[in-house]
Symmetry: C2
Subunit: 199 residues, 2 copies
């Protein structure tokens, strides 16, 4: 037996998937992952709840699919020619995303889902891996320019920019203001220059 949605992926099937993922995002942003209810998602999407249970089955599978969808729409990075400015652009992008009411709540919810389900966690890791890969070149260029020591791990630098912002969002509770983003970028750049991310 094949998974539903794989034999006739076009037309209605695709429309249903789009509507359900959209509705799932809304529900997650509004109520958080623990309150995610597939019947409610079906109602919001204007779709039979049987369909949602059959195609996704569990809330975590739905979140995993939503993450796969989000990963496909990764936005391109900007290029400025200086490491600090590139990292600042990245930090502000992350900050804007997390500070946005809908997006911020959605990311919280998705992370909550990943904490209790292996599949969702994998989908989340893939999502961030794609984001990191998108931005890694700006670190590589800085190494090539001689701004950073040879052997600096690009991924570590990019993650170091995001980490304090996510920490604020999830654990610390401090505001996600522009100053925080500037500090995150500045700290990552300074640490990288000092060779903290070189192997």
């Amino acid at each position: 037996m094949t998974e539903p949605g794989t034999v006739r992926p076009g037309g209605r099937t695709a429309r249903v998937r789009a509507a359900v993922l959209e509705a799932a995002g809304d529900a997650l942003a509004e109520r958080g992952f623990p309150h995610l209810d597939l019947a409610d998602v079906a109602r919001r999407a204007g779709v039979g709840k049987t369909t949602v249970y059959r195609r996704w089955g569990t809330t975590t599978a739905l979140v995993a699919d939503l993450l796969a969808d989000m990963a496909e729409q990764s936005l391109p990075r900007t290029e400025t020619g200086s490491l600090l400015d590139d990292l600042r652009a990245n930090a502000q992008l992350v900050r804007r995303t997390l500070a946005d009411p809908r997006q911020g709540a959605l990311f919280k919810a998705v992370i909550a889902a990943a904490t209790c389900d292996e599949r969702a966690a994998e989908a989340l890791h893939r999502f961030y891996a794609i984001r990191v890969d998108e931005w890694a070149p700006c670190v590589e260029q800085a190494v090539a320019r001689g701004e950073l020591p040879e052997g600096t791990d690009p991924g570590e630098v990019i993650r170091a920019v995001s980490a304090p912002l996510y920490y604020r969002l999830l654990a610390g509770g401090q505001p996600l203001d522009e100053a925080a983003a500037e500090r995150a970028a500045g700290a990552a750049a300074a640490a990288a220059r000092a060779g903290a991310y070189a192997r």
Copy 2:
């Protein structure tokens, strides 16, 4: 009407609370917050489920109480006399905690709870505020020694040590090994020395 447990806080009431919080920690570590079930907690604790529903009512309230309890048992920091070594000690402590199967899962679950409930989020923020306050003096001492620039924000430095480790735990999925902790401490120290956390 008073809250249950406030008029006769000793004896049985205290025993029940301890048993329930212990059981709640176990349940969270094993199944994660979204699967937290008060009846199950009651069963594990060997306590009537009515009691749990009456005293805590919701899963988020139970988590908030658990966090308050965890905050009270904050362990003292070590002192080494050098900023880098203090931060390394902190990083390794955090790493050990998050890498421990039970503790790590518990922290994940607690963070998941905080993503969808304001009270749980506040309790979590309080917990981390206490931890940060415990460790902030080592940064202040480094400033006094002239190791760090005047005006360095101690809390920011401490949080900068934890942030990459939590990012790994929740978002990135990379292993929480000792090298990661060393890098977190080294990066925070380097950034602090460069004045990235000075106002």
